[in-house]
Each structure stands twice: as C-alpha cells, then as structure tokens.
Symmetry: D2
Subunit: 334 residues, 4 copies
C-alpha cells in the first residue's frame, strides 16, 4: 500500500530483509484474510500507517535465517504469530486510557509479502497436523475463539454453547466447543443451515425467522446457554443475556451490529451472568491452541484460496460473507 484505497495496493520487489540479532527471517507460505484487512486497505481505519505499508496479519511460513541471539527456532521450522504479537502471557499490554491494539498489518507491518522478519518472541511453532493454508487461519479467528472458550469461559463437556453467527470466529468456536464435548447451538442465515450442521453444530437457529431466545429455552429445557460467543454486538448482547443460563459466561467478541452494546440489567444480575471482553489472545494461548489442534485433529474451515495476484478478487469475496476463511497462497510449496 502506498496510501489508502484499493488502487494504491501494489506488489513490489524489495530486498529481502535481514533479521536483527533476536529476530528471524520468515518465508511466508500462506496468509489468511480478515475483514479488517479489507478495511485497512480501503479506509486505513484511522490507524497511523507509514507508507509504503504491508497489510495482512495471519500467516504461516518457514524460518529461513535467524539472528545470532535466537534460541527458540531453527531454520526450517514452520511458524506463526499471534494477531497482537507482543502479548506474550498473563495480562495484556496497555492501560485504561490507551488500550494496546498493536496488531500485525495495523500497528506493526503486515505479512502479505514473500519475506518478513520478526522477533522470535512473537513466534509459535505451527501445528504439524495442518497445511500452511490451514495454519494461517489460526492467529486471529482461531485464537480468538480459543481464548474465549478455553481460557476465559472454560468450556467443559456437557456445556451448551450458543454461537449466533457462521463467521470465521463462530465456526472455530463451534469446532473448539465440540472438541471439549460441549453441545453447540448456532444461529445464522437459513441458507447456511445444512453446511453448519454438517460442520458439527448440534442445532441450527434461523436468525431471521426464529425467536433466538425462545429456541434456546426450548432446546435446553429452559436451562439456557452456559456460554455465548457474542460476535454480533450492539443490542444483540441483550439476547445473549436473555438466553444465558444461571452462572453463564458471555464472551463479547464482535460488534457487527454496532459498537454501543446494550443489555437488560435484571437477568444479568439475577442469573449471576459474567460478560468477558475478548480481543484475540496471547502467544501462550496460541501455543495451547496449536497443541489442541494437533491433538484433536481439528481442521479449519476454508471457503476459498487465491493466489497473491488475485488479492482483489479475494477482498471482494470477503464482502459476500464467506463460509469459512479466505486464504492467499504465497508460496504453495511452503
């Protein structure tokens, strides 16, 4: 990107960068797109970008060179980085006035490139059981769903998890909840009913024609949902609170319906419901997700793959609401 706008997106030959002593050089194999990437390219999203700027955050690649102080990786290792790469473990960076939102392809330079250099502290070994294209989908959507379910809401076998969407985080949430033995109720467009059920949902609610809350009461015999992945936001949070079981955990993840959340106070208070704000997850959480993927055989849902030169077509596809992730293959041999 030489500036904001699709027309300023160009592929450019630049020298291969050299890694600093604590960094490695990564040859990118695949990059998975998020809707945010489209917004960064088209509007800059208000971010303080320095041009030329490389967009893209989620990748899988191979270490091809490393600085002399590097100890965690060797040449040939397949690696990934979390979406917010400087959040290692424990409490995330930032303070009350200025939350840290230092993402790849937003604050830090992005990864839609053949080579990138990164501090080794940002990197995580990619799962052995996934291809590079599959692995590239984990750092944002996969990690967010994992952090919400496994780290914050602590999903357990027998829990009921409500997921009111069929987007990227939602599909990962469905797979991760099932991998823990939970029952999953997904709500979405009727057109996605069959493939959502095939992909593992126990129940599907038509979000335009069904009454979401009543359907959850019916399915759970009035018990409610133990966990809700609230990816819609706005006033939809109120439905999550209504559908919530006593002691339920709601993970507030997305804000498609608006950045001002609202919900009724009484059921929140009388049902001892907790709401957890989720903004992706830490590098340690990504490492745990990698182990979980290798252990359970979870395969990310990919809608389509494109070559680098078809990036514009891929960005258009994001607008249509893909069922699963969109991946750009950079090095098909990676």
């Amino acid at each position: 990107m030489d500036g904001i706008g699709r027309e300023l997106l160009t592929l450019r030959e630049v020298p291969v960068p050299q890694p600093a002593p604590d960094a490695v050089l990564v040859k990118i194999a695949a990059v998975s797109l998020n809707y945010r990437d489209k917004m960064v390219i088209e509007s800059g999203r208000g971010l303080p970008l320095i041009f030329p700027f490389t967009p893209g955050s989620d990748f899988c690649g191979k270490v091809v060179a490393s600085g002399k102080a590097v100890s965690r990786f060797r040449v040939g290792d397949r690696v990934m980085a979390a979406f917010t790469p400087d959040w290692t473990d424990g409490l995330r960076p930032g303070n009350a006035r200025t939350p840290a939102y230092r993402t790849l392809g937003g604050y830090y330079p992005g990864v839609l490139a053949e080579f990138v250099t990164m501090p080794e502290e940002w990197l995580v070994p990619a799962p052995a059981s996934l291809t590079a294209a599959e692995a590239s989908t984990l750092p944002c959507a996969g990690l967010t769903a994992w952090f919400a379910l496994a780290e914050r809401a602590r999903v357990r076998a027998g829990d009921t998890v409500l997921i009111p969407s069929t987007g990227g985080v939602a599909l990962f949430g469905m797979q991760i909840a099932r991998a823990h033995g939970a029952q999953v109720i997904v709500a979405g467009n009727a057109a996605n009913r069959e493939r959502t059920l095939s992909a593992g949902a126990d129940y599907f609610i038509d979000k335009h024609n069904d009454d979401l809350v009543e359907k959850v009461y019916e399915i759970t015999n009035d018990r409610g949902a133990d966990i809700v992945l609230e990816v819609i936001g706005g006033a939809h949070l109120g439905k999550a609170v209504q559908a919530a079981a006593v002691g339920a955990r709601i993970c507030q993840i997305g804000a498609l319906d608006g950045f001002e959340l609202s919900a009724p106070a009484m059921p929140l208070m009388l049902k001892d419901v907790s709401i957890f704000g989720i903004g992706t997850g830490s590098r340690k959480a990504l490492e745990h997700l990698v182990r979980a993927v290798d252990r359970t055989g979870l395969k990310p849902v990919i809608d389509s793959r494109y070559a680098m030169q078809d990036l514009n077509t891929a960005l258009d596809h994001l607008d249509k609401g893909p069922f699963g992730k969109i991946v750009i293959d950079i090095d098909p041999a990676g």
Copy 2:
C-alpha cells in the same frame, strides 16, 4: 400490609408462630430498610404477594425456640438470614427463563414483626462484634458489596476500586475494599465529600462537576480502576468501562439510572474487561462476611434509627437518600 399502599400498612397482634421440625422461632431485634421495601409497600413491585403480607428483609434477632430436628442453632443464638435465603452455596437457584428472585419480604414473608419462624438452613450466626442494629444492615447491602468484591472481583491489597455512589452498598463496598488494603475512589454529590472521606475513601469525585473518567485516569496515572462497583446502571456502565484498567472487573449491581445497560464495545474488548452481574450473595458468603466483620472491626454506617411505630417516617427518610442505613428497632433489648 393488607394490600398495596402505605395506608394499608398496619401493626397487628397475631399469635406467635410455632417452628416446624427443621425451623426456629426468632425474636426480631432490629430490621434494616432497603429502598425496595418502600417500593413493595407502595406499589407491590409486581410481586405475587398474599395478604396480609409482612414486608422487610434484613434483620438480626435471637433464637427463642427450635424444632426438634434443628442442629445448627440453640436458643439464645443471635442470627441473621441472607436476602435470598434459599441460596446456600455454589450456583444460585433458577434457570434461564425464570431467574430465582425469592427474597424475604418479597417472595417469602418478611421480617417487620416481633417473631418469625424460618428453616435453620437459612440462618447465619450474627457477628459478635456488632449490635443487633448494626448486624441488621448486613444481609442485603453488606452481603452484596462483599459478594461483589471478595467472591467475584477478588479484591487485593493495592487494587484501585471505583465506587460511583454513596448509597448503602457503596459505603459497604468502600469499607470492605479498604479492609483488604485497596485504594478507594468514591464519586457522589459534593455535599457528601467530607463524610465520605472521613468514612474511609481515599479520593472523592464530585459526580456533577467532575469528569469521572478523566479523574480516575489522573488519580491512577492512566492505569485505571481494577474494580468498579457499578451501582448506577443505564449508560453509566459505559463510564465504568472507560475508567477500567486492563484486566479490570466491573460488578454490575444496581440500576438507578435505568434497567437497560449500555457500554462501548471497543474498550471492553481491548482491555480484557469482565462484567459480573451481582444479585446479592449466598448464605456461605454471608458467613464469610460475618467472620470478616468480626476480624476487621468493620462497623456499618447507620444514618438513623426509628421505632416500629415510626415506620412511615423511616420510609420517608429513604426518599431523601440517607448516608448509610436506616434501621427500625423492634426489640431494643435484643
């Protein structure tokens, strides 16, 4: 109460009740009023009351007789019960569709009486360090603040706790936070500044003339509040989210400003903030509060005490926003 409305409130001589095998007879010494009691008396609050109905929920009294299966109490023991007396420990009763809100003086008969009978399972020994009048203030306001701070938000020494009110729960919150070594910022009417600081607040914010969020940033050097006792509700929850530190816990307790909560999504998500719905607490939590009161010497803030025949005056006082609790002395020798 023979019906709804202050004019249907009468003192009546009735036979002293007999306890069931698993129950005790309690001679009431003091009853602490909540604003809710005024609403129940004046409007019924939509509750399914059976008349004649006795209002009032928070009491301290003495066991004067007990059923033959009773094992936890003896005649002479000073006792209290939680506001929601059938919530013993762990998860509260109720389900997603019908939260349990079975309170004394609401669902169950109340305690503005000389004698009541209650299952022993509802009762807790009163703190040895408090008078009956003081102890009577714990079961709703004290327990709510305790449950929020000690059970849910897990306050620790060095934490900053923001309490945007000087009401009953707020003052208990201030005292309990301080008893754990936390720093307390209270916001309220300027008229209450001096007595709030004397009662233990570290900082006081004038809620009408100061910018609450900026003041919190200033006091904490931008770190924010680790815990917020959100007793205002409505759109005020948004201020709590703005003032919150990374990893903060907000306890949503009251809804004076409205039953529809709202808050911005981005700081909630980017600061990993948790919101806990709080609806009083369990009997086990009340037992822990009693130990904490006896250990730390915490003395509840009482604004005024009235005799039973002055109940109407006491109810009027509730409207004026007392600084601390209003207590009705029933048996001054108790």
Copy 3:
C-alpha cells in the same frame, strides 16, 4: 449385614419403606460395587455401623412413590445419588478436626436392596443415554474422575493427562479427559496394554518395566504432564511431581500404595505445581457429569455383571482387579 464378616451377609425380606414428606421411594435397578464395599462387609472399616446394615453406595433406580413435599422428581423418573449425598454444591461439609465422610453404605444406610427411601435433595436424574447398569457406575468412580478433571484441574483440549492405573476411577478419567480433547497416557500392568489402548488411551506405559517419569518426558518432549490423576498414593506422588509440567495440577485421589504421601519439594516449588485433594464430588458436579455423558456418548467400562444372589462371587472378583466396574443387577427390568 447382621455384623461384620461375609458370613453375616444375608438377603432379608423387609417391608417396603415409606418415604418422608421430602423423600422418595426408589426401586433399585442396579448397584455398582467399589472395593470399599468389600472392606465394609469384611472389616467394617472402623465405621459406626448399626446392624442390620445394608452395604453398597452406587445405584441407579426408579422413583416409585414420593412424599408430599417433593417437587424435583416424579414417579417413573430414573435417579442416582452421589457417594457423599449431602454435599450439594460449593464447599463440602465438615471441619478441620472432623472431615465429613458421610457416604451411602458407610455412614448412611446402603443400597444393596430392592427399595430405598432418600431425601429428594440427594438425587440426580440418571443419564438418558445409559442403561441402569451403566448409570450405576457413575456416583463414585465416575464422579471422582469428573470432579478431579473438570472441576478442579479444568482439563482442556491439548492437555496431556497422566493416569498411572487401569482401575475404575482411572478408566473414567481416561474417557473424560479424551471427551475434552486431551491426550492420555495410562500406566498399568502390561497385560492391560491392548484393552487400555482400545478403550482410548493414546500411550500405555508398562508400570513394572518402564521408567514412568522418563517415558512421560519422552512422550511430551520434556514438557511433562499437565494433569496427573494420582490414584496410587504413598511415594508414588513423588513420581507425579517429577512427571508434572510447569503449572501442572495433580489430583490426589487414591492411596493404594499407602496413606502417607511423600514427594520431593524442589520440583513441586520450582514448577509451580498444585496438588488437589479429591474425595468424590458434589451433587451439582454429578448433574454436570450426567449432561456430559449424554452429550458425548461416553459409555462406562463394565467388566462383569452379577445377580444379587451371586454377590459373594462378585466380591471375589473385586480382589482380582477387574478391568472396569462390577455391577449387581437387582431389577433387570429397571
């Protein structure tokens, strides 16, 4: 039992008991035996039994009559009770000097009978997906493994769980860990290798010929086990600590190798290891296990089933170390 010793074990015709107002009458369908039952029958285990005494704790049966105050169950419902039936939720009963160990068939009368009455508060609906014989195995062995893994150690997908036994709790632990997406390493007698791997273990260690700790290091690439179900006790706890990952949770469940536990201090301290004492679980935890069983299709491993008149043969079988549970069918139509 008319006294201690197998020879005092007799089947006796007694009138069908009547339930108290808060109790139900249960027609027992199946009873699962624990080694403890054999010890109670043969030695009394030092318990204050009142003869005639009915042994046995783990059952599944059907409600055939109920007291007038009963609200949670109806005639025809299939039910179970936890091994320590008066522990409902939250903190268990008892105090420092006198831990509560009030079990069915130990402190409370047992269930090796055609009919028993029990307070409804003790009961839990049986899982719809299991037969009565299968369900009867949950209240002690199943619940203990569930409480350890799901409530205390909070197992997650990708965790490595070490289980150094193939006994009843161990096999449930293996199944519950797998239902949460964990990797399971079981150690036992070489003779059980094949059936343990078939039943779902990822790795099997020969406890007589392999070095347990080294094998765990090897399998986990030195990372260690995230969770250990320590069912052996004595000095074996030391091996659990050696095999433990940084931040690991060890659940101390059994004491086959001795009631005096021992372990090295340094790895416990330098690896931030936690040890949780486990003594079965609460009724609420049993309810959650039931949901998990119905959701995941977990089927308890049963070694053999016997008729009531073959109780002596069944007790002999317990001595031989069955692979899975021993069940007594009381009402094969139940």
Copy 4:
C-alpha cells in the same frame, strides 16, 4: 567470589559496566541477604558459577544510565528486580525435566556491587513509601509471601492464616495477610512470642511446647486454617494438612526440615485441601506488591543493617536466625 568459600570473597574495583541497548545501568543502594546467599558463597550449592562471580539477589538501586532502546525507565528512577528476573507474567519458564531456576546471584550474576546492568524488562519501580534498605527486602522474601497469599491462595478478610515460622517469608506473610484483613496465627520459638505479637500476629503458638494442630483447632473452634504458609517442609506438611480447614490452601514454600515432603492422604482428600508449590513469583506480581506496600503502608521488618565491608559479620548473623531481614547498605545516599 573467585571461587567457593568465604575466604575467596573479595571486594574488587572493576570498570563500571555499560548497558546494552535494552538495558540500564543501576547504582545499587542496598542489598538484602538471604540464607541462600550464604550457601552460594560457602558451598556454591552445585550451581554452574563462572568466577569471578558476584553473589546477592535482592537489591534496590537507582537508574544512572540507559541503553537507547529503553522505554520503561528514566535516569533517576529507583528500581528493583524479582529474584527470578526473567519470569515476567503468567506461566513461569522451564519444563518438566529441567525447571527454570535462573536467579540473580545464582544463575545470573548477583548484585553485591556498586553498579550492575540489567535488561529493563527485569525491573520494577521501587515503592515510593520505602527506603532503599526496606525496598531491598521485597524481591525474594516479600514477593514469595505475596505470590503465595495474594496470587495463589487468594487471601480474604476473615480468613485464618497459619504461619509456622518467624523467618523472613513468614514475617512478610503475617503482614500481607493482615493487610487483607485476615487473622494470623504464627508458630515459633517462645523467645519470639512478644515481638511477633507486637509485629501483628493475632495468636502465637510455642512450636516446642504446644501441640500446633490442637492449638489451631482451639483458636478456630475446630474450623481450621483457611491458608497455611508451609515454610518448614519435610513431615511438617502433614501438620499443615491436619490443621487445614475444609477447602484450605497450603502454600509449600520452604524445606528447612527436609526436601522430602510427607503428609497423610485422608485429611487431604476428605477436606478438599489444595497444596500449591511456590517458588518466588513473577515481575508482574512484584509490581502488584509494590502498589500494595505503597497503599497499605506495610514496612518490612529489618533486624540489622551492615556496611559492605562487614559482609562477613552479616553472613554470621544469618546463622543465628534473625528476626526480620539483614540488609547491606551499599550507597547510604541511594
């Protein structure tokens, strides 16, 4: 140190070191000694020391120069580092086979020097309310007690905390427990009774003449201790388990009585007791301790202060069991 043994301890003039880009130069003001320092000097403790080696781990000093990439500190800031300085937050480093025990003055060079350089990531601002001598006592003893009580056992007002020692960690534990409103029972030599009670203990048990467990039952009316700081180790862990309340947390911190811990299995299991291995704490925990110290006015107990040239006398003092910490003043103006 030019080798192992007191006679190889020499003060030496060396050039002031230069900080690397991500490091700062610290002028040491005070160093607090641990018994470990004496062992390192006298026996090397089996550590892979490279001579000349500087012993000592706990310091407070002032930043006097900084590398060009440093952003968290400025010249003039008073700073400290945790005992295990590379443990930042969340899970500590290391694995099952090789726990990380990378301490200052053990693995990393120590601080008994006028100047040291350290990565800024290791440092924490010193508390404003303490002198350098007082602050120097926090990084090992203070942090260990804080991590145990506030991070792992989550002490609350009204809890009973048993501390069977009057050593360095024990006295900090007493002060931190009290700062949270807990009741503290300390056991030690009768000679320390009065000063322990003056320093804030609620009860003192004579460890040679009293029955520790019975005394705890008596003081708590059989309820037991909610938290035990087990700093003795060996078979003393068994007493901690006996004295523990239902649901208690035991923090295993020290091993004065032996590195092989032992305890009875039954009370551990029947009282749902947890044992947490504690090996100091993270940098984030030290930051929280600093806030707690500044907020509560906690003043570390210092037995004696010595000048650098009297290091040998100070080491001798460690052998006599000081009541509080021993501090070496390096820069009395610091």
